[in-house]
């Protein structure tokens, strides 16, 4: 390839995956729309987004099962553009595992090694070690159809990991499992990844899974990459309305930018919030339900005069550890989550209340 490496190139060469300006079209459908993405070596990276947003397509392009219509895709600094999948140091755990039904567990797991012409006995030894790692000892001779969903999932994992890939791609690997097994596997996957130090690119549409497992998360919508960041980044500093709404629960209050540190809410009240968007832009203020305090009418502290509203409770839902209120303010409804511990006062529908929050909780997102 003979590339000349300047300072910038050497930094990207360290990235496990470097995607820049990649677009994938299927006829008229733009499945992936001009995305830039860097995944570091050893990172647990999640891709999150609603169905059809292009997660699988992105993963398949990294695996080589689909080629980009446009753009550059590098794996550890090497351009892989149209390299076939068998020539990439990448393995995949498929959405429905895609285990070979005519082979037993041992043959499934040692498949990749045999295809690389590793000797039969060495391949079997290495496969056995992986089978042990995923706790399937004693099932070597079983066919995939004789395994439970969770066991099949482990076989798929072992089959990919036995090849010591530099990047492991996982397409909703836990999607078919029930909740309990799913949580168990989440922990196992996470500790396995830490142990092996391999980059995991993990596709899911379960935001909780993404938030709890990943170092960084990419949120996609309609083939576009909306935001890449840590769980905190996404939750506390969402880049736009979609991300704010998609990650966790939030109240989105329509507003207009007045100047660089003031926005005007729908009812005309001015709120201090920093934004880089020009004055007059339509924005939304994202206010997490748990960031809002609730008290009897008039109980808002004096220093929160700008960040407070009066309203009437329209519903309350007891959750055990918390109570969710729905409060009608004159022009919108707000969700409020209050702790349910000890002496916290409870409110019933019809009660007149005041809501207030810290200035720091104001977060402006583009529409």
């Amino acid at each position: 390839m003979g590339e000349t490496r300047d300072a910038h190139e050497t930094t990207t060469a360290a990235d496990a995956v470097a995607i820049s300006g990649v677009t994938k079209r299927f006829g008229d459908v733009v499945a992936v729309d001009n995305i830039d993405l860097n995944i570091a070596d050893g990172e647990f990276f999640a891709m999150l987004g609603p169905s059809g947003c292009g997660k699988t397509t992105t993963l398949r392009m990294i695996a080589g099962l689909e080629f980009p219509t446009q753009g550059s895709l590098k794996i550890f600094g090497d351009e892989v553009g149209t390299l076939p999948p068998n020539k990439r140091p990448v393995n995949t755990v498929f959405q429905n595992y895609a285990l070979f039904p005519h082979m037993n567990v041992l043959d499934n797991v040692s498949f990749g090694l045999r295809m690389q012409n590793v000797g039969r006995s060495e391949a079997a030894d290495r496969a056995r070690a992986l089978i042990k790692l995923v706790q399937l000892e004693g099932m070597e001779r079983r066919k995939p159809s004789q395994l439970s969903g969770g066991q099949q999932q482990r076989v798929a994992l072992a089959r990919a990991l036995v090849n010591k890939p530099k990047v492991l791609l996982l397409d909703e690997p836990l999607g078919a499992l029930d909740l309990k097994l799913r949580q168990e596997m989440q922990n196992e996957l996470k500790s396995l990844q830490r142990e092996l130090g391999v980059s995991f690119v993990f596709v899911t549409h379960d935001q909780e899974e993404a938030l709890t497992m990943s170092d960084r998360i990419a949120v996609m919508e309609d083939g576009r990459l909306l935001q890449v960041g840590s769980a905190e980044d996404l939750y506390e500093r969402p880049a736009n309305r979609f991300v704010a709404d998609f990650i966790g629960q939030t109240n989105l209050v329509d507003a207009t930018v007045a100047d660089s540190d003031t926005i005007v809410l729908g009812n005309g009240s001015k709120v201090r919030a920093t934004t880089s968007l020009g004055s007059g832009s339509k924005v939304a203020m994202s206010l997490r339900p748990e960031a809002i305090s609730i008290g009897p009418r008039g109980s808002a502290p004096a220093d929160h005069s700008e960040e407070s509203l009066d309203g009437i409770v329209s519903s309350s839902t007891y959750l055990g550890h918390a109570v969710d209120y729905r409060v009608s303010v004159d022009w919108i409804d707000l969700e409020v989550r209050a702790g349910a511990i000890g002496a916290q006062q409870r409110f019933s529908p019809g009660d007149e209340v005041s809501l207030w929050w810290d200035r720091a909780a104001n977060w402006v997102v583009a529409d």
Partner: protein, 317 residues
Amino acid sequence: MVGSGRQLGGSRLVTAATEALTDPALEAAVATPEFELANIRQRKRRGLLIALPAYIYLLIFFAVPLITVIIYSFATRNRFGGADLNNWNIDSYRELGDDLIRTILLRSAGLAILTTIICLLISYPFAYYMATRSEKVRNLMLVFVMIPFWTNFLVRNYAWYVILGTDGPFSQFTEFIGFGPTRVLFTQVAVVLGLVYGFLPFMILPLYASIERIDGRLIEASRDLYANGWQAFRNVLWPLSLPGVVAGSILVFIPSLGAYVTPHILGGTKGTLLGSYIVTQFLTARNLPFGAAMSTVLMIIMLAATILYFRKGGRTL
């Protein structure tokens, strides 16, 4: 084969069920209650009633002629070209050891095997191509495969007779491109050509059915696991399509082995094959017991092939 959430959930049940079955103590414990047995018996009786016309049909047109042939094969030929049913022996079967018969049998088997292999080589890529097209193209191609069936088999063989004959279109073509006139008609090449042409759909259809059922993601998975194109074929596609290969091969081999019409029309008088030889025994030589014995042996070979087919490939059709 396409894995779905439901299927994956279900497979756990299957595992439990198979475990239960392999445990003799459990097996004994799951005794069927009386009323359930009665229920099953009643259902079986009703099934028999529905199948009755089929059984009658099979009895009249299959069992009776078959048994007649077998009986005749043990009879003795009489002076008038009939069969003496009072004189039982296995002379006809002894005659099968004759060198001429062995030559005919081997020649027929060789041609049938060749036909089968050529059909397989042509059909596999075709079936694979067909199975990986869109639904619309697939159905269109299926229609194309079936089109020959709309014309009578005999007529199609005569069409080849004309095409391959002296001064026929084929000969004219070879002459035109500079190879001089060719005489393919009345050679074994013509016979194999005719057989391949005639039985190709019987290879394509089961192959297509079994390839179409293979989950494409398995091929992708193998490629992801460092298989090159050939390895993916050898280790995943081929073994998973084997039922179709076996089914198609037997469906082509059996009728090729006993073929009569095609060799008769395209093969001329040289290189007699089994089918024609049996017909000759019945109609010309009027040695009914001998013809019957040969037919019986042929049927046994086919039966063996059919059993193999049901063991290995029957389930895919």
